[in-house]
């Protein structure tokens, strides 16, 4: 290792420490701890849903306002294309990796792979917060890229399942309505709708709603991460027994693999350092809201105790605590 790498490592460790001691991560830890200790602390379902919608509304609106400033650029289309490619590709990679290292049935492997190809908006948000804390900016259109990357992975996973687990994933279920359902999913509509509104109204439209959509954002995020910690901790307690060392290892290796893949595509997108970090984080993140619901319909034989525990119980905390600074360091290389 040369001096540059050394200082990169030192920088990474500092980033990681700073990240882990942020209120956002600590509230997640509090949630996990409370759930594991069987505290009755809980956030009502109606509130959890609304917090998620609020986050979509806020990041969508703010992203749209950014795009209103810059206008539509070729960079956006390139980044979007790269995102779609990743969302299609990662599940294929993930599926075969999982089959290689574990004895998971094909239908479970396909469902897990779908989660890793899709994205997690909260991981996205946590990455933007970490960046902002260091004075980085990022391209507003990445919000739209995040929305676009939600769905292709599901398609990929279905194709895999139909090929490798034909009995579980028979062709009875038409794929069109399913994709429509996922595309019109409430959180996607909220994200893209708010993005469009932000784009239309621009900075002038953001101003009067900023105390709600901007100023409260980080505090609300803490509350939402507490909630995610509670749900993740409950899931860990219940899902533990269905997991093997191989699947656990996958849940940590796969995001890193996806991040490397995304990093390789960054130069084609022309993203800034901040934007690249977000893009890589998106690729590395795993869905835990939209894809699980889609899998219950498309691949009901796949076990939620496996895919939810891996995505929400292992990968999400890993990304939150270690992945985000790691991907940021990785992205820094790609834009030099």
């Amino acid at each position: 290792m040369d001096a540059g790498a050394d200082s990169t490592m030192a920088g990474f460790l500092e980033l990681a420490a700073q990240n882990i001691l942020s209120p956002v991560v600590l509230f997640f830890v509090l949630g996990v701890a409370a759930a594991l200790a069987r505290s009755d602390l809980s956030i009502p379902e109606a509130i959890a849903k609304t917090l998620a919608l609020y986050l979509m509304m806020s990041i969508g609106f703010k992203g749209g306002v950014e795009v209103a400033k810059t206008g539509l650029t070729a960079q956006m289309l390139k980044t979007g294309a790269a995102g779609i490619v990743l969302s299609f590709l990662i599940p294929v990679l993930g599926f075969h990796l999982l089959r290689l290292v574990s004895r998971l049935p094909a239908v479970d492997a396909a469902a897990v792979a779908a989660h890793y190809g899709s994205i997690s908006i909260v991981t996205f948000v946590a990455a933007t917060e970490a960046l902002r804390g260091q004075g980085f900016t990022f391209e507003g259109h990445l919000v739209a890229v995040a929305a676009i990357m939600e769905t292709p992975a599901i398609l990929s996973a279905l194709v895999l399942a139909r090929r490798y687990a034909p009995s579980a994933a028979d062709a009875r279920e038409p794929i069109g309505p399913l994709l429509r359902e996922i595309g019109l999913n409430g959180s996607v509509v909220m994200l893209l709708g708010s993005f469009a509104i932000g784009w239309i109204t621009g900075p002038k439209g953001l101003e009067p709603v900023a105390p709600f959509l901007v100023d409260l954002f980080r505090g609300v995020l803490c509350l939402f991460l507490l909630d995610m910690g509670l749900v993740a901790g409950r899931g860990m307690r219940a899902g533990w027994k269905d997991l093997s060392a191989a699947t656990l290892g996958f849940a940590i290796a796969m995001p890193v693999v996806s991040a490397l893949l995304a990093a390789a595509l960054v130069p084609l997108t022309g993203l800034s350092a901040g934007g690249a970090a977000i893009f890589v984080t998106l690729a590395a993140s795993a869905s835990y809201i939209a894809v699980p619901a889609a899998m219950r319909i498309a691949l009901p034989e796949a076990r939620p105790s496996i895919y939810l525990t891996l995505s929400l119980g292992i990968t999400f905390p890993f990304n939150l605590a270690f992945g985000i600074p790691l991907y940021q360091a990785l992205a820094a290389f790609t834009v030099r």
Binding site: A48, K49, A52, D227, M228, I289, P292, R296, P300, S305
Partner: protein, 104 residues
């Protein structure tokens, strides 16, 4: 005294993501109506679940209650079964009496 008419009460505990498929099946089976009731938490052979804190539909159950004509009960249960065979859920049927038979 109000006249009462014998009917069947079908109660289905179903995972939330499959709800639309279930109500579509009920529609196809020709039920005159149904009511959806929230569930907070539960336990089954597959372990326990709770809706608390969930921002999405996966991992949550809801209950659908439909009062149907006895003559149609079999068809309804078959239609429901076709959907639920692959999903998480429980179906039970009981005897009830209703007023306003024209309603069902």
């Amino acid at each position: 005294m109000v006249d009462m008419h014998p009917k069947k009460r079908v109660e289905i505990v179903v995972e939330a993501p499959a709800l639309h498929r279930l109500t579509d099946a009920l529609d196809r089976a020709g039920v005159t109506g149904y009511t959806i009731v929230p569930a907070l938490a539960g336990r089954g052979r597959g372990g326990s679940w709770s809706g608390e804190g969930l921002a999405g539909d996966a991992g949550r159950m809801v209950i659908v209650v439909s009062i149907v004509d006895a003559a149609r009960a079999d068809a309804v249960v078959s239609g429901v079964y076709a959907v639920l065979a692959r999903q998480i859920g429980v179906v039970s049927v009981s005897d009830v009496a209703v007023i306003r038979a024209d309603h069902f």
